[in-house]
Amino acid sequence: MVHEYKNNGYNIVLDVNSGAVHIVDDIVYDMIPLIEEDMDASDKALYEALEGRYDMADISEAASEIRQLKEDGALFTPDSFEQYVDSFTKGKTEHPVVKALCLHIAHDCNLRCKYCFAEEGEYHGRKALMSYEVGCKALDFLVANSGARRNLEVDFFGGEPTMNFEVVKKLVEYGRSLEKEHDKNFRFTLTTNGVLLNDEILDFANKEMHNLVLSIDGRKEINDRMRPTANQKGSYDVILPHFQKAAESRNQQNYYVRGTYTHYNTDFSKDVLHLHDLGFEQISVEPVVCDPKEDYALREEDVPALLEQYDILAREIIKRRKEGRFINFFHFMIDLEGGPCVAKRLSGCGAGLEYLAVTPWGDIYPCHQFVGEERFLMGNVYDGITKDEIVKEFGRANVYTKPECRECFAKFYCSGGCMANSFHATGNINGNYGIGCKLQRKRIECAIMIKAAESS
């Protein structure tokens, strides 16, 4: 499978099954579909098909380069990975290894964000704080089920985890006490709305948190519309100074400011650039996922404008970086040279197997997005996983079990996407969330275009 596209003056060719990326001139761009259709096409036939747009000598030269790429295994590569899927997934589901937990430290929140999938922190249930005992059991469960994996990730999540910060501190201490004995390395992350992010919490986070995720949507009016406080005031003025201090204190590394864009800010590139103008260098702004009936839900008719926003953003990022103003946009990050192996690309995000979410009272779900969906309750930190069928269901999901993914050029970059998004959009974790896929494909195209631009 080959995917060709033009972006920002570049002709880009992706050989989907080898991962090769080529920047080509117009003649090669025009010839690749013709050769893909007929591998034995003569130069004369190509000349005629191109209706005299190029010289015969150039056509012969370009055709020879295209055939050389094919010979080198960098173009028209057949898909040979489906045969490995069974062996990858069989091992994973028969002997699951857990390497990451999302700990729901608090099902309570001091903001009332309108799009919150946790329903203002309560996840379709009651307000609750995780106790130290449940947290310890969760870390014990992680260590006991992590096999030979050394690096273990734990995200302190909510609701708002700083509303139960004493437990966070004690759990970090407990985690550290397990590291030596079990030869493990915990990487802790704190995801916070910033309201309570004072010096004490920040100092602790800078010492112990591998990553800090700071929630803000961008421009003041955009943030305050969707992220009000409990008494319906805006949160921007409260959280912004906390976040600026946090980003600087971490030397602009190992953190993200992250926002959500909705139908109300389909010009979201302005929010990303606003965050950059405020001094943030690590930025993630992503599409809202919600019931399509919500007034702020993204709609099919929003898509063209959203795609254009990614183009605008990509060009602006290239420009700013050239000027020496570093900016990293999470959804344009792509590691072409040192990226994941095929096993990872085939198996996706790991929800339900490698990555699990734990509620304040110790129930286990496939990921934070499924918490409160009783059908996906998998077990608890005391008894472990009690529903193996859910492990198998998630373990089997991959790009070959999703019909739309099989034919998609992006399949080895997104690995089938978010199963929670698929479930919420279609009722099936193997379903296809159409708007999300369109945005994902565009982000990948832009990310690779940026690589092309920065390589020239």
Binding site: N17, S18, G19, A20, V21, H22, I23, V24, D25, I66, Q68, L69, G73, S80, Y84, V97, A100, C102, F117, N151, E153, D155, T189, N211, V213, Y256, Q282, E286, F330, H331, M333, D335, L336, E337, G338, G339, P340, C341, V342, A343, K344, R345, G348, C349, G350, A351, Y355, C367, H368, Q369, F412, Y413, C414, S415, C418, A420, Q440, I444, S455, S456
Partner: protein, 48 residues
Amino acid sequence: MKHVKTLNTRDYKKSVVKGGCGECQTSCQSACKTSCTVGNQSCENKNK
């Protein structure tokens, strides 16, 4: 090549042989809690 510039990329086929160690991050964990991306992750296999 005169008409083609190829970017350096990891060869998927070769990664089948030495891949699957599982030390890499889970995909959603690092920053975005509602959007899985895998291609942005760095391989942490020391023996690749």
